[in-house]
């Protein structure tokens, strides 16, 4: 069976204005969300203490809050985590008020109030570690973007590399925008997911670019927009199916992976979704705008004798 038996090339480039507008709007929306709401940075980056505890009965959040206040811990966020029995306690990092001993104080207080409580997880991150993780995260993002840019520039041509990286940075900004808009917690694992998706969605651009390069040699009479249209149309089936498969895996993670993987899977889901769209409908119009020409690929071979008129060397 086949989903995509397309007789004629879809004139994607003619819709260039519409797709670019849509991208621009989502992009601006994401920027607005980031600027206005900001990322809800997790304890990995801000420093502080997160404690996950479990009760056998549904927990009384107010009681827990009171108990902690009595133990001298203010500015505590207490919320359920996944189920009503699981409680997440967050203590922000304020000068001197939170340290490695805080979790012990919290557990002692909770145990005194209700011995039924059991500790599931503690994350304590000191201020300098949080800053380092933040810096390293930003550096990793730059390294990945730079590495991909360099690789594509070597493998194809700088115009391809630039359009692909812009398309994918656009994805990353949209993922970040979603996290900011919905105030989902942004942790180290989410960042890892974003970087993986950055590497992954570039695949899509690579596949389309491969076709464009092939078409530049084969379709001598066609204009650049037609060549791009043909490349997108012929790779469309593959694009949708592979992304669909990866998305299936990621959705399975979202549904079965539990709370710990939830935001990670969420970042991947959004990333893959926008990855299909951007690498096809953002990268290719950009390529056109940057003025890709046939000569960029075949200038060395064309004038020489022994090459057929259409430039192909079959």
């Amino acid at each position: 069976m086949e989903f995509f038996r397309i007789k004629h090339d879809i004139p994607f480039m003619r819709y260039g204005k519409i797709t670019t507008t849509i991208s621009l709007l989502t992009f601006l929306f994401a920027i607005w969300a980031l600027a206005y709401k900001g990322l809800n940075l997790g304890v990995d980056f801000t420093g502080g203490t997160v404690i996950e505890v479990a009760y056998r009965q549904p927990a009384q959040i107010d009681q827990i809050r009171d108990t902690l206040a009595k133990a001298g811990l203010t500015q505590v966020t207490v919320q359920t985590f996944g189920t009503a029995q699981d409680i997440l306690i967050r203590l922000p990092l304020h000068a001197g008020s939170t340290n490695a001993r805080t979790s012990d104080t919290v557990m002692a207080a909770l145990k005194a109030q209700n011995p039924d409580v059991s500790l599931k997880r503690v994350d304590f991150v000191g201020p300098q570690v949080g800053k380092e993780l933040y810096d390293n995260g930003a550096l990793a993002l730059l390294v990945v973007a730079g590495g991909i840019l360099l690789y594509l520039a070597l493998r194809f041509e700088w115009r391809f590399a630039v359009s692909a990286i812009i398309a994918n940075i656009h994805d990353v900004v949209i993922i970040l925008g979603c996290f900011a808009f919905f105030q989902w917690e942004f942790s180290l694992t989410v960042l890892a997911g974003i970087l993986a998706v950055l590497g992954y969605s570039v695949n899509e651009s690579v596949v389309v670019f491969d076709r464009i390069r092939e078409n530049l040699r084969k379709m001598r009479k066609a204009g650049i927009p037609e060549i791009i249209d043909n490349a997108i149309t012929t790779t469309m089936s593959r694009t949708v199916i592979t992304h669909g498969m990866t998305q299936t895996m990621v959705l399975s993670m979202l549904f079965f992976g539990g709370e710990a993987l939830h935001n990670f899977a969420l970042a991947l889901t959004i990333g893959i979704m926008f990855g299909i769209y951007s690498s096809v409908l953002v990268a290719s119009p950009l390529l056109l705008m940057l003025g890709v020409k046939r000569e960029h690929f075949i200038k060395n071979t064309a004038p020489r004798s022994g090459v057929t008129a259409d430039g192909a060397q079959v």
Partner: protein, 604 residues
Amino acid sequence: MNRFPLWKYLLIAIVLLVSIIYTLPNFYGEVPAVQISPTRAAYKADNLLLKEVEDELNAAHITYSSAALTGDSIKVRFADTDLQLKAESVLQTRFRDGYSVALNLLSASPAWLTAIGAKPMYLGLDLRGGVHFLLQVDMQAALDKAVERNTGDLRSQLREQNLHYSGINRDHQTITIHFSDPATRAQASQYMSKNFSDLLLSEQDAPGDYILQANLKLATQKHLEESAIQQNITTLRNRVNELGVAEPIIQQQGPDRVVVELPGVQDTAKAKEILGRTATLEVRLVDENHDIAAALQGQVPYDDELYTERNGRPLLVKKSVALTGDYITDASPGFDQQTGQAAVHINLDARGARIFSDVTRDNVGKRMAILLIEKGKGEVITAPVIREEIDGGRVQITGMESAQEASDVALLLRAGALAAPMDIIEERTVGPSLGVDNIEKGFHSNLWGFVAVAVFMIFYYRVFGIFSTVALSVNGLFLVALLSMMQATLTLPGLAGIALTLGMAIDANVLINERIREELRNGNSPQAAIHAGYDRAWGTILDSNITTFIAGIALFWLGSGPVRGFAVVLCLGILTSMFSSVTVSRALVNLTYGRRVRLAHVSI
């Protein structure tokens, strides 16, 4: 056209076989065990110890399934956790001194698998439960301490040399000495550059006040910092042994940090307390005037305390402390130059040296005891006889049975206390229930994702879909085998990484299958289409994987802990998928279709 030479099939078969063997241990699960490992170099894990352990368990009527000597510890396996806990308490009582007795979980895989080094995947703390600490060594405090010691030495030695100063003080790591005339300062400066070679001197003048400033040389600072962190690591290791943790990890990270990972530890409050503990060393005189037999019956003299030497002999030690470990600058194992006996060389600072020389001069022929004090509880490390007055701050302790023991005592002397205070700057604790929960959830996301992908692929590409699915499962097998072989740490993000790489690996097969369909549409014969499909897709597969690989490498480089586990899986998954989705699926295609000369139709 679509035939593989025999060696390629053989290669695939061998790789598959090896992968299956190395994946096997993951299916056997784990059995409760107790692990006994010596914590002092003088004690060995050998067949003698094994026999003792077995006898002890038999005497207590605790049945064990096996007891074996592996590496530097004895591991005893039990049928259930009840027996394990019972055995632990019995062995704990018997091997309290010099051994660490810890609960452990050991792979239940058969002996032949263990013999060829096939182990289950190494689970990270987020999957097996435990504590991860990142400790920061306060280097400023270590340097301050060193400068303070130098200040004290200068104070006494300048006085001894009759170099009169009007004031000496320390501000952080700068020693400032005031002189009333430049001549004395010049003499002092000369004396110091000869005898205090660790200090960098500079002069400053004010009316009537001639100042000499001393700072630690950069090389000395570096040396001090290195030895401080080394000493702290040694100390931590000794302390963790006390905690009874089966497979602790203690390693340096960067110039001034230490990572401590304690799998299975639940009582984090206790762990924190023990890691942060400060132990001290004391030198006291042995009381040989009173009757030891009476003391053993409870009549300990008022000024004395009763201790047991390491060889089991009781000892009466005076309560008054002659010297504390604060004066020790270094301790190293060596040999006595005359007798060739094993010895420990201790260096004391100036004040310590003077105290020690006074004490030894007044007590020649008597014994002194060297004690390690922790939380008010002391242990006699050694109690030698004082042969003569010892001055100069260089002390040699003999009486050790072997060079091993000498190095052990030296280590204890050095490792008794932390060289510099440490702060916990990061803690990650995962409870055992959450760990098990994480494994289960990670496994389920993989399973259901895989099932969904397999169903779709077979439905959409038919026979080629089956090939792709088989290739995908082989990819999963390779990945698990590689992770098991390399003993790379598998974390929860790592488990997610397996799902993600499987999802991405199918990309290669989709790419190939689509190409074949396209070639068929263009009117190529099935054999030619298959050939061209695999051939042309390869370049694209390579390209698309390299970019993800770049991301994986960056994550491995800059990530930490669980994220690093994800990066490892991502990179390995890309490598295995390139092999399985291209070579393995091709082999299946070739086996099925390759030999048919007149192939009219392929199921795709």
